[in-house]
């Protein structure tokens, strides 16, 4: 429930953020905006839903047909009458206006944040540019020096720009921990960026059905101390060990899928006849 946690802290600072928002025109990542925006949407959405549903249920209860209630209605509906409207439209217009204001305000705000996110990584922070390619059923990362690997290693606190594509079918690349997602489309590239803010191992996975291995199409994302990263990166190059590395990773994924199939084949119900 990191979400609720994020929500409470963000709500306290929401005003601050807003001021911040006007001043800061780029350099925001999805990670900066998602939980705040999601939290506000959640609270307002819940509030609106609760008000509307309560009003609906209250009226349903209040005007329920019951004994002792005056059964006669003025101008009741008649069988065979031509359909016509009832009640006054004024209330309808007001309700619509109120909800339109809420929705448009929310979306407007979200739009400002969108423009911010779309601006891309600030060049001043010297972002790392990494190419990502989805191949059934693994992810390949290519660094500027040509090093290719199936584990994404990035330094802490430095922007990373990912250029995502696919070598075969339509995939969607996503690292949930950094609120990052991009379609991997054959022949097309999609750019997203993020700024990892905490070291550790995270998970990247596929979010578009891409075949039998879709459920296990994932890879590790390791966020390292900057020094450690530089050291690691210096030891890579477009050389033989790196290639072996990636080939090994692919075969691991494959083994995993095959094992998954073999392990359970005895207990599984095949859906094909």
């Amino acid at each position: 429930m990191s979400l609720m946690h994020g929500l409470t802290t963000q709500m306290v600072t929401v005003n601050n953020q807003h001021v911040h928002l006007v001043l800061q025109t780029n350099g925001r990542t999805m990670n900066d905006v998602f939980s705040m925006l999601f939290g506000v949407f959640l609270i307002l959405g819940t509030a609106v839903g609760a008000v509307v549903i309560s009003y609906m249920v209250y009226n349903a209860y209040k005007y329920r047909d019951r004994e002792g209630r005056d059964g006669t209605m003025t101008d009741p509906l008649q069988l065979g009458e031509l359909p016509q409207g009832g009640g006054d439209g004024k209330k309808l217009a007001i309700s619509l206006a109120i909800s339109a204001i809420i929705v448009i305000a929310l979306i407007g705000w979200a739009y400002v944040l969108l423009v911010d996110v779309e601006a891309g990584a600030p060049a001043s922070e010297n972002p790392i540019e990494i190419k990502v390619e989805g191949i059934q059923f693994s992810w390949q990362y290519e660094y500027p020096n040509g090093h290719t690997t199936s584990t994404l290693r990035v330094p802490e606190d430095r922007p990373v720009t990912l250029t995502v594509t696919s070598g075969d079918v339509f995939h969607t690349f996503g690292i949930p921990a950094f609120d990052l997602k991009a379609d991997a489309i054959p022949g097309q590239t999609t750019q997203r960026w993020f700024r990892p803010n905490e070291t550790g191992t995270y998970r990247a996975q596929c979010f578009e059905l891409c075949g039998s291995g879709h459920s296990v199409m994932e890879s590790d994302v390791i966020v390292m101390e900057p020094n450690e990263y530089e050291q690691w990166y210096a030891n890579t190059g477009a050389d033989a060990p790196a290639m072996n590395n990636s080939a090994a990773a692919v075969s691991t994924t494959k083994t995993r899928i095959e094992n998954g199939g073999a392990e359970a084949s005895s207990q599984r119900v095949a859906i094909t006849f």
Partner: protein, 836 residues
């Protein structure tokens, strides 16, 4: 009959409705006689023959309902298989491909083979009654729609026996959907089953559009139509255009799978994006296509069970019309994560939010209708009330997805799954309310009320227990069977809810079955405050629905005497129909035909053969068998004498001067325009992606194409001459005109054949490259239209020789419309593929 008598015979409707009472015995006799004779034609209700032959809209409606409930069970079992698999965060019950097939077929069945046909069961039964029509405009085409639907579903089922069904999700993203990644024949069969389904939908849309615009009772203007009928009118218009786009996508996909074209796989062209555009251009209107009928059912039940007229009815209708139009402008919100730019994202964010506001208004309108009402919580109202409640949650959670930044993260997760199930299954809940609302009308018996209410509570609890936890567990990626272990309890809760929901569906079906025999008999109108015309006739209604000609001229429903001469001076606003009107009383309408059923079987055999035609074996034989049987059935269909009378008077705006057949052809051509539009659009999209000027044209020489342009233009002129000859009663002129058209058409095909054979000799084949693929497929689709035209000519010419069409030249006119359309399409294709 004098005008006085006529007034005397206009019976104001009483709450019971029903056949004529003592006041008009003469009329009653006519009514009974008519019923007797028409019954004679249609086999009795209890027999299998009845259900195979019937073309009556009420029977077809019941067939649709029963069949769609069968598919609900099919799709539901697949859903439960997935829910059982998801009990644990690792894969253990289903194999990976098994799970993907369950995901895909569950989506396809629920959206195509359950929800829409379920709604169309009600539409078939109720709409003609609500607008005062005896039947749909083309009863045989209606029964054809049903049989094509049933057999397309059977074809989908067969796909499981051909090495596995489609496994790429209901969105069928490219290029996973081509044989390189999904080689089994079953996948092709699934795609072809969808093609057959779309044909059924198109036939049905043409039929409903014609009926709704041309066959309304006097005084029932478009604006005054009941809301359920309004919802269906907008639904069928959306269907007509949206499904044409889907048909284009499916034909291209079938061609990529069977003929080896490379639309979705070619290097250097954005084939994968092409699929998403084509699919979502259909896919988003589809959401409203399946939801609108539910909205209509809600509006009807809210009025009946609160006893109040809908608040802001006018605005409700305007909102629906706006949604129907705008539904074609939101499709790219499914593509926010692709490489489209910020400007396009902004535009589609605005249209998406814009489309949520009319729904806002509709929800408030339904809620305010309850205020000061006398609300009776019957089973149907409980279901539609519950549907509105969950729809509100579904709507609010949808706004999240409209905000692009949130969509970036929520895309591909269970947030989307939970959201659209809250919307779609809200629609199902409302339509289940529709079952209970109209059950007494369909059967003449009341459902079991106590069981009905208990079922609602189980349904409502099961629904929320199933889908609400999915919001909480939104971080689960869609369509996977491995998910973070921390989310396990929520998924287990959802599985329990899934089973409760499944049981409640079975209880609904059981209630309908049980009540057929044990339900309390009801009269025409069991509901206080119901207003629409279906409640003014007995339950179930007689074969031709009404005891007289329904009219709203006086401001409320009355049944006018059938025999009123059409010259009556009652101030009617409409003109009587020319041809059929004068003979309307001389013969009765037909209600049975075996040909739709046969065409259905032939289509099944044909498409099944097509699915594996490249593998040889029995498949080519099946294809040939399907073609032969299909041709025989179509000829039988064409030669059968099947009489339908158009109502003499009625509201026909805006198509007063166009008769039903002509309107039907026009409406069909409108969908064909979208089909060709999608093909041409695909070509332009791929070519722009490739580089417009880098693209090499496939034919080296534009001359054969130019000659063909002249041939077609000349043939259009000939068909005009044929029509003029028919009008002038010149049999030989007619035959000459038709024959010349036929010869020119054959000339067109020969010329094209020579051109193609030359290209083949040079080694240019459909699969050679994307240029060749687009050229052969698009002009090939046009050539198929030409061939179809020639087949119709081959049917028309012998009949013209026998003297047909001189008194009634309408078939020639309709064919002419089609033929001109085919020519106009060529005028677009020629420059695009030969010159530019």
């Amino acid at each position: 009959m004098t005008e006085d008598q006529q007034t005397h015979d206009d019976r104001a409707v009483q709450s019971g409705g029903g056949p004529p009472d003592g006041s008009a015995t003469e009329n009653a006799l006519v009514f009974r006689l008519r019923r007797f004779f028409t019954r004679d034609e249609l086999p009795p209700l209890g027999t299998v023959r009845h259900w195979l032959l019937t073309t009556n809209h009420k029977d077809v409606g019941i067939l649709y309902l029963v069949t769609s409930l069968f598919f609900l069970v099919f799709g539901g079992v697949l859903a439960l298989l997935m829910r059982v698999e998801l009990l644990t965060p690792v894969g253990d019950i289903l194999s990976a491909t098994g799970y993907n097939q369950a995901v895909s077929t569950h989506g396809l069945i629920m959206i195509f083979w359950f929800l829409s046909p379920f709604a169309f069961g009600f539409a078939n039964y109720v709409v003609p009654l609500q607008i005062g029509a005896k039947d749909l405009a083309f009863p045989r085409l209606n029964s054809l729609s049903y049989w094509l639907y049933l057999f397309s579903g059977i074809l989908l089922g067969i796909s499981y026996f051909q090495g596995g069904s489609f496994e790429g999700g209901w969105t069928m993203y490219a290029p996973l959907n081509v044989p390189t990644y999904m080689p089994n024949i079953g996948s092709t069969t699934t795609v072809l089953a969808l093609v057959l389904f779309v044909i059924s939908v198109t036939v049905s849309s043409v039929n409903f559009i014609t009926t709704l615009h041309r066959m309304r009772a006097e005084g029932l203007t478009l604006f005054r139509m009941p809301l359920f009928t309004w919802s269906i009118l907008l639904t069928v218009w959306m269907m007509l255009f949206a499904f044409a786009a889907l048909l284009a996508a499916l034909l291209i996909l079938s061609s990529d799978r069977i003929l080896g074209t490379t639309y979705f796989t070619a290097e250097g062209t954005p084939g994968s994006l092409l699929w998403t555009h084509l699919f979502w251009f259909f896919g988003h209107p589809e959401v409203y296509i399946v939801f609108f009928p539910a909205l209509g059912a809600m509006a009807e039940t809210f009025q009946t069970f609160t006893g109040r007229r809908l608040v802001g009815r006018k605005w409700f209708i305007i909102a629906m019309v706006l949604v129907a139009l705008q539904s074609f402008l939101v499709w790219m919100h499914h593509m926010f994560l692709t490489s489209i730019n910020l400007q396009i994202k902004t535009l589609f964010m605005v249209t998406t939010i814009g489309i949520s506001l009319p729904f806002d208004l509709m929800v408030f309108s339904l809620i305010y209708t309850m205020v000061k009402g006398r609300i009776r919580f019957t089973t149907p109202f409980l279901f539609t009330f519950g549907a509105l409640l969950v729809f509100i949650i579904g709507g609010i959670t949808g706004v999240f997805l409209g905000a692009v930044v949130l969509d970036y993260q929520l895309r591909g997760t269970y947030w989307v799954v939970a959201h659209f199930h809250y919307v779609m299954v809200a629609g199902v809940m409302a339509l289940v309310g529709g079952i209970f609302y109209w059950y007494p009308k369909f059967t003449g018996r009341m459902y079991n009320k106590r069981l009905g209410k208990a079922t609602f509570w189980l349904f409502f609890v099961g629904f929320n227990l199933l889908y609400f936890p999915l919001f909480v567990a939104w971080e689960t990626p869609r369509r996977v069977f491995e998910y973070p272990a921390a989310l396990t309890p929520w998924h287990q809760l959802a599985t329990v809810g899934g089973f409760l929901l499944g049981i409640s569906f079975l209880l609904v079906i059981w209630n309908c079955y049980w009540s057929l025999w044990r339900g309390e008999p009801v009269d025409g109108n069991p509901w206080e405050y119901s207003t629409t015309a279906e409640w003014a006739v007995p339950s179930p209604p007689p074969l031709e629905n009404f005891p007289g000609v329904p009219s709203y001229e006086s401001g409320s429903l009355a049944f006018r005497d059938d025999d009123t001469p059409e010259t009556s001076t009652d101030g009617g606003t409409t003109v009587s129909n020319d041809e059929s009107g004068s003979t309307a009383h001389d013969h009765h309408d037909s209600h049975a035909s075996p040909w739709p059923f046969f065409i259905g079987i032939a289509s099944l055999v044909f498409f099944l053969g097509l699915s594996g035609i490249t593998t040889g074996g029995i498949y080519p034989v099946l294809t040939a068998l399907g073609v032969v049987f299909g041709a025989v059935s179509l000829i039988g269909f064409g030669l059968e004498s099947f009489s339908v009378t158009e109502p003499e008077r009625g509201e026909r705006w805006p198509f007063e001067g166009i008769e039903n057949g002509k309107l039907g052809v026009w409406v069909f051509l409108a969908s064909d325009i979208v089909l060709f539009g999608a093909f041409i659009g695909s070509y332009v999209f791929l070519r722009v992606g490739y580089g417009w000027t880098d693209w090499t044209l496939v034919p080296h020489d534009p001359i054969p194409g130019l000659i063909n342009t002249y041939i077609l233009l000349t043939s259009s002129f000939c068909i005009v001459l044929a029509l003029v000859a028919a009008e002038k009663n010149s049999r030989w002129g007619l035959i000459a005109g038709l024959s010349t058209t036929l010869l020119l058409g054959i000339g067109f095909l020969i010329n094209k054949g020579i051109e193609w054979v030359e290209l083949f000799h040079e080694g240019v084949w459909l699969s050679s490259n994307v240029q060749a693929s687009t050229f052969f497929l698009t002009t090939g689709l046009h050539a198929l239209h030409v061939i179809l035209g020639l087949l119709i000519l081959l049917y028309l010419i012998p009949r013209a020789i026998n003297g047909s069409y001189l008194n009634d030249e309408r078939p020639i006119e309709y064919f002419g419309l089609y033929w001109h359309f085919v020519d106009i399409v060529w005028l677009f294709l020629f420059p695009l593929f030969y010159i530019i």
